[in-house]
């Protein structure tokens, strides 16, 4: 280890911590991929303009107090293609995604709104099917869709159907949850196999000439969170649902929010054989592939066994596992002990996951 390398690494560290700036003249697809470009866009454009403590926390849902009530509020847009895929469709995805953002904030999801941008020519039968699955998902999650809006745009301006949902939940627990509360020694848990949703949609798109028996994991996490907090609420520092950008992105957010290093054991991370196989073929790391029904929880070590047992007892958490720990090193990085026995860092993704070509 040369002094020169140390200096280079320090220089990079300073650059990383510098204020982000969007350098591109126009948005590219990378700005929507959930990785570094998205982070830069959010921080440099939106936080700059909206600047308030609730937003600046950049949690899955904003923690609010209004009229004496402790609330959580969030919104999300859905543009998935294809609209229907094995295990779900854009409708239940739009409900579960917003429900989960509230649930992992430690709030009980209550009310949702839904905005639809519909393309001229969309079969009414498709819309009916999408809306029916939203209704079913809402009932399953114990929420009501109480407000809505529809707009129809000319053919070619939306890919069939885009949905935006927003949701309000009640923070019933007296204390706040947040991954910024992670402390050295805490353990990191994931509630089930990762990457199911992203890989399913990628394959369902049909561009790859690849067949695999995959299903999206889209599901409401409300019940799982209830059980987890009942069993180990005192020890749960914070939770995140691992959607766009996958578990790797969540782990980086934890490291950054808490000013720590997250050390992960690759062989402990549950991945279904079909997902791992497809990811291997495409040269994609499952750690970056989206889930829609999995949470990552940071738990104090003395409560980890109870937390894991509670997750295991729930149908959505039967393959839950401890995948890593929080280390005091202030590097704000994620270190992966690879299955092979080496060590590397796991950074935020740049652009979309791109398959290697040789």
């Amino acid at each position: 280890m040369t002094a020169e390398l140390t200096e280079v690494l320090d220089r990079i560290d300073r650059t990383r911590r510098a204020r982000p700036r969007v350098r591109e003249q126009r948005l590219t697809m990378a700005h929507g991929a959930g990785g570094k470009a998205t982070q830069t866009l959010v921080e440099a454009v939106f936080l700059e303009a909206f600047d308030n403590p609730e937003l600046n926390a950049l949690d899955d849902a904003a923690a609010l107090t209004a009229g004496g009530a402790r609330l959580a509020f969030t919104t999300d847009s859905y543009v998935v293609k294809p609209l229907f895929f094995p295990g779900g469709d854009i409708g239940d995805l739009a409900v579960n995604g917003t429900v989960n953002d509230l649930a992992v904030a430690g709030a009980r999801p209550r009310f949702l709104s839904a905005g639809f941008i519909l393309e001229e020519g969309l079969p009414v039968a498709d819309l009916t099917r999408i809306v029916a699955s939203m209704g079913a998902a809402a009932r399953a999650a114990g929420v009501s869709i109480v407000a809505g809006d529809t707009k129809v745009v000319p053919r070619g301006l939306a890919d069939g159907c885009y949905i935006t949902t927003a949701g309000v939940g009640v923070r019933e627990h007296p204390r706040d949850f947040g991954v910024h509360l992670a402390r050295p020694g805490d353990l990191v848990l994931v509630s089930g196999p990762i990457g199911d949703h992203g890989m399913t949609v990628l394959v369902a798109r049909g561009d790859l000439d690849l067949e695999a028996d995959l299903r999206s994991d889209t599901a409401a996490l409300t019940g799982l969170v209830d059980d987890l907090l009942a069993a180990a609420g005192e020890g749960v520092r914070g939770m995140r649902d691992a959607t766009r950008g996958g578990v790797a992105t969540i782990l980086n957010e934890i490291a950054r929010a808490a000013g720590v290093t997250v050390v992960v054991d690759e062989s402990a991370v549950p991945v279904r054989a079909g997902v791992r196989g497809a990811a291997e073929l495409l040269g994609i790391d499952p750690l970056y592939v989206a889930c829609e029904g999995r949470l990552v929880a940071v738990v104090a070590p003395e409560h980890a066994a109870a937390a894991l047992a509670a997750l295991h007892a729930h149908p959505l958490g039967d393959q839950a596992a401890v995948i890593g720990r929080i280390d005091p090193d202030p590097a704000e990085l994620v270190l992966l002990r690879t299955r092979f026995g080496g060590t590397r860092i796991v950074d935020l993704l740049v652009g979309d996951p791109l398959p290697r070509i040789c």
């Binding site: 020169e4 650059t15 790859l208 291997e280 299955r339 080496g342 590397r344 950074d347 979309d352 398959p355």
Partner: protein, 375 residues
């Protein structure tokens, strides 16, 4: 997972690491170049250097298809893509490679129809589906990917698909290795030979490396155990005073290569008199273009391309990195002005580029890493 986990077994890695350490002569430093970007990626992805003694240094070579594309060729491709009738198709790795005036991703955002494909045959599908458009495939890569381009062109010819063409940037590996061997500031002890290129060209073309330059080469597979095994084979040669071309990747690479693929290549593609390599400059007989027989499918003949040579940015030291003269972090702009989000040089773009691999996977203080993992 079968056929994967066997080659990533930590126990076998420890056994190989012990053998490697035992073969190293005390006080001697070994410098091996892995020619192929796929190796570089494997080394970092699995944290393989953790298994190597300090005295064994891996130097990253030029075998990264995206890394060697000069800026001028990116500009040429974008000029083609800007034509309203054109759909330019490209492998995903090319999308962020900077040209003189932005990347494919920027050109796409500004309105050009550029689409990512996984195979040249996908581009052919697009051509069939859009008879009113001109579909151009941006062909890149070494002998590994060139045969699939050749097969695609043949198929287009057989179908009489007049709206399909190839912007050919295929390069060949041997001249690049020769350029590195001839470089005065390079002192290597041996090579990990490119596995997938060798499935096509075989092992014979490397013979001059051992015979004329006195360096051993072991054709290596892409799983981490393959690489450790190949390093062990190189050290064994040095230990025993041998200097040979050996094939570690024999489960995939036949010694004589793939004769059918070579025949197809010779029918569709031929050597250009010279070609510019990013950072390495012009190298004679180092790249391929379409033969006369298939000239109708050559995008360079179908569309006027500017063909302007664009000098690399002054601060960029990709050439030195590609030759293995500089470690990625020794480049002046590494990780500050040049990052995977805002690459100046190509080595920072492809996941197989040495700089991107080092930045994304290896950017951590070694001492601190040991402390953290020991806790």
């Amino acid at each position: 997972m079968r056929f994967v986990d066997e080659f990533r077994n930590a126990e076998q890695a420890r056994a190989l690491a012990a053998r490697i350490a035992a073969r190293c002569e005390p006080g001697r430093h070994y410098k091996f170049m892995e020619v192929c970007g796929g190796h570089t990626h494997t080394i970092y992805q699995h944290g393989l250097e953790d298994y190597l003694p300090e005295s064994v240094e891996l130097v990253h070579g030029p075998g990264c298809p995206v890394c060697v594309i000069p800026m001028g060729r990116v500009d040429d491709a974008i000029a083609i893509a800007r034509r309203p009738e054109v759909i330019l198709t490209s492998f995903g790795d090319m999308m962020r490679v900077p040209g003189g005036d932005g990347s494919f991703l920027d050109a796409k955002a500004a309105g050009a129809d550029i689409r990512m494909v996984y195979s040249p045959l996908d581009a052919l599908k697009l051509a069939r589906a859009h008879p009113d458009r001109e579909v151009v495939f941006m062909a890149i890569g070494f002998e590994t990917t060139a045969p699939s381009t050749a097969v695609t062109v043949r198929r287009a010819a057989a179908e009489g698909l007049a709206n399909f063409s190839v912007f050919c940037n295929h390069v060949t590996i041997i001249p690049a290795i020769k350029a590195i061997l001839d470089s005065p500031d390079q002192r290597l002890d041996g090579f990990l030979g490119p596995g997938h290129v060798s499935t096509v060209i075989g092992c014979e073309p490397y013979r001059f490396i051992a015979e004329r330059y006195g360096k051993p080469l072991v054709v290596a597979g892409f799983e981490p155990l393959d690489i450790l095994h190949s390093i062990d084979m190189l050290l064994a040669q040095l230990e025993q005073g041998r200097c040979e071309i050996e094939n570690q990747y024999s489960r995939v690479v036949p010694w004589d290569g793939n004769l059918t693929a070579l025949k197809t290549l010779a029918d569709v593609l031929e050597l250009r008199p010279f070609f510019e390599w990013r950072g390495l400059g012009f190298i004679a007989h180092s790249a391929l273009k379409l033969t006369e027989r298939y000239a109708a499918f050559d995008a360079e003949r179908r569309f006027a391309v500017p063909g302007v040579r664009v000098a690399d940015p002054k601060s960029c030291q990709c050439g030195e990195v590609l030759k293995g003269v500089l470690k990625p972090y020794e480049c002046k702009v590494f990780g500050t002005a040049c990052t995977p989000e805002t690459p100046i040089g190509t080595c920072m773009v492809s996941p197989e580029g040495a700089c991107a691999a080092y930045y994304n996977f290896g950017r951590f203080h070694r001492q601190r890493l040991l402390e953290v993992t020991a806790r």
